[in-house]
C-alpha cells in the first residue's frame, strides 16, 4: 500500500514497468541439455566407449535475488550492486556450473593398449550464479 502511495499516479504502463524489476528473468540461469557423439568429432577411432556423451551446460540471466535460489555467496549480490550502481564495466554475475559428475571412458592408446579410465568433472549437473 505504501508503495502504491509512493508510486506516482500512473497509467497501467508505468505500473507494469514498476513491477518488472521484481519479476524473475524469463531466461533464468539453468542447466541445458547438450549431447554429442565422439564420431561427430571423428574421435571414435580411439574412443571406444561411451558412444554418446552429454556434458550439459549452464546458460541464462542471473536474477538479482540470487542467494537462496542458487546458493550463491554474498559476493555475488555485491558484484550485482557494483554493476548496477557504481560501475557498469564490472560484469554482472555469470551463470556457471556448480556441481559435476564423472565420466568413464574406454580408449585405445597409440601403442595399441586399451585403457578404461574414470575422469572427474566431465558432466555439469547443477548451475549457480557467480
Amino acid at each position: 500500500n505504501e508503495n502504491l502511495k509512493a508510486a506516482p499516479a500512473s497509467s497501467p504502463y508505468n505500473l507494469s514497468e514498476y513491477f518488472k524489476q521484481f519479476v524473475f528473468p524469463q531466461n533464468e540461469c539453468e542447466l541445458h541439455n547438450f549431447r554429442l557423439s565422439f564420431s561427430q568429432l571423428k574421435w571414435d577411432k580411439w574412443i571406444i566407449a561411451p558412444h554418446r556423451y552429454s556434458p550439459q551446460y549452464c546458460h541464462g540471466d542471473c536474477p538479482r535475488a540470487v542467494g537462496h535460489r542458487y546458493g550463491s555467496p554474498v559476493h555475488t549480490m555485491v558484484q550485482n550492486l557494483i554493476y548496477e550502481k557504481l560501475d557498469p564495466s564490472v560484469p554482472k554475475p555469470s551463470c556457471v556450473p556448480a556441481e559435476y559428475s564423472p565420466l568413464s571412458v574406454l580408449t585405445i592408446e597409440p601403442d595399441g593398449s586399451i585403457v578404461y579410465k574414470e575422469y572427474e568433472d566431465m558432466i555439469a549437473t547443477k548451475c549457480t550464479c557467480r
Binding site: L41, K42, W43, K45, W46, I47, I48, A49, P50, R52, Y53, S54, S101, P102, L103, S104, V105, L106, T107, I108, E109, P110, D111, G112, S113, I114, V115, Y116, K117, E118, Y119, E120, D121, I123
Partner: protein
C-alpha cells in the same frame, strides 16, 4: 622429473618438442614456465586432445596400433560392468580402481613341447612395455589374461591342472632368469567359446612396478592336462584351438587431479586411499594386516608409545 619416468614427455605429440618461441601460441598448457612444465604430469590422451587446439591432429597424425579383437571384447565387457550406457561410473563396492590398462605383449616367442608326465607345456617369453603407466597410477591388482579359443564342444567340462611359473628376465645380466614366481592350481570349468582365464600375478608385479620398471620381460609356462585328475588324465591337447599368449591387465588407482576418486569424496567420509583400502578389503590388501583384531592393534600401538 617423474613425467620423464613413464609415458612422459618423450611420448608426447610433436607440439611439446616445438622450439620455445613457438610454444606460446600452441597450447595454453605449454605457457607454463619450463620448470613447472617439467614436473607437469602428462595428461591422459583424452584430456590432452581436449586441451589442444588441433583436435583433428589426433585423428590423422597419431598412428595407432590396432588392439587384439579378443582384448577389445574383454575391455568392452569390463566397461559395461563398470559404467552405465551414458558413461557414468557405477558405484560398485570394494574396488578402488579408476583405471584399468590392458597391455598386449610387444614381443613373444612361443615354445611348445609335449611332456609325457606334465602334459602339454606352453611356454612363452613375453615383453610388456609399461610406458603408458604414469607415475601417479598406483597398482592395485595385476592379472595375466588367457583366452582359450577352443573348438571343444561347449557341452564338455574339463579340468585344467596348471602350473604357471613366471621368470623375470633381467635384461641387464643375461644370466638365466631367476624364477620369481610360480604357482600351481587347477581350474575346472565349462569350456565355452573364447573362455577367459584370469591369473593373479599381483605379488609378482608389485615390486617391479613400484620400482618404475618400464619393461617387464617374463617367461610363462602354462602346462595343462585335460580330463579328471582322479582318473588317468589323457594327454590330449587341452585346447584344440590355440592358447593365445596372455595379455597383462593392470587395475590402477590414478591419484591425479583429473581422475575420479569416487571412494575418496567427503561424502563417503574417506580421507585417504589407505583408509579406503583398509575399509573396503579391496582387490589387493597391501597393508598385509587385514582384520588382525583391533585390540591387538591397539595394544601394540600402546606398547610402542
Amino acid at each position: 622429473p617423474h613425467a620423464r619416468g613413464r609415458g612422459g614427455l618423450d611420448e608426447a605429440p610433436a607440439s611439446l618438442e616445438a622450439p620455445e618461441g613457438a610454444a606460446s601460441e600452441l597450447n595454453p598448457v605449454l605457457q607454463l614456465p619450463q620448470g613447472v612444465r617439467q614436473g607437469y604430469a602428462p595428461l591422459p590422451p583424452l584430456l590432452k586432445v581436449l586441451s589442444d587446439r588441433g583436435p583433428q591432429r589426433w585423428d590423422s597424425e597419431v598412428p595407432r596400433l590396432q588392439p587384439d579383437s579378443r582384448a577389445l571384447r574383454y575391455m568392452k565387457r569390463l566397461y559395461k560392468m563398470s559404467a552405465t550406457k551414458e558413461g557414468i561410473p557405477k558405484a560398485h563396492k570394494g574396488n578402488l580402481y579408476n583405471t584399468v590398462r590392458l597391455l598386449t605383449p610387444c614381443l613373444e616367442c612361443r615354445h611348445r613341447h609335449r611332456d609325457l608326465v606334465k602334459g602339454d607345456v606352453h611356454s612363452v617369453d613375453l615383453l610388456f612395455n609399461l610406458d603408458r603407466v604414469t607415475a601417479l597410477e598406483h597398482l592395485l591388482k595385476s592379472v595375466l589374461l588367457y583366452s582359450f579359443d577352443t573348438s571343444v564342444p561347449t557341452s564338455s567340462s574339463i579340468t585344467f591342472i596348471c602350473h604357471l611359473s613366471i621368470k623375470e628376465h633381467d635384461s641387464a645380466s643375461q644370466v638365466c632368469p631367476s624364477i620369481s614366481h610360480s604357482l600351481a592350481f587347477s581350474l575346472h570349468f565349462e569350456v565355452r567359446k573364447r573362455k577367459w582365464v584370469e591369473i593373479d600375478v599381483t605379488s609378482f608385479l608389485q615390486p617391479l612396478i613400484a620400482t618404475n620398471r618400464r619393461n617387464i620381460h617374463m617367461a610363462v609356462n602354462f602346462t595343462c592336462l585335460m580330463g579328471d585328475p582322479q582318473r588317468s588324465t589323457k594327454l590330449e591337447d587341452p585346447v584344440n584351438g590355440t592358447l593365445v599368449p596372455p595379455s597383462l591387465l593392470l587395475y590402477l588407482n590414478d591419484t591425479s587431479e583429473q581422475a575420479y576418486h569416487g571412494w575418496n569424496s567427503l561424502k563417503h567420509g574417506m580421507k585417504s586411499p589407505v583408509q579406503a583400502r583398509q575399509r573396503n578389503s579391496p582387490l589387493v590388501d597391501l597393508t598385509g594386516d587385514k582384520g588382525k583384531g583391533n585390540s591387538q592393534g591397539k595394544r601394540a600401538s600402546r606398547q610402542r608409545r
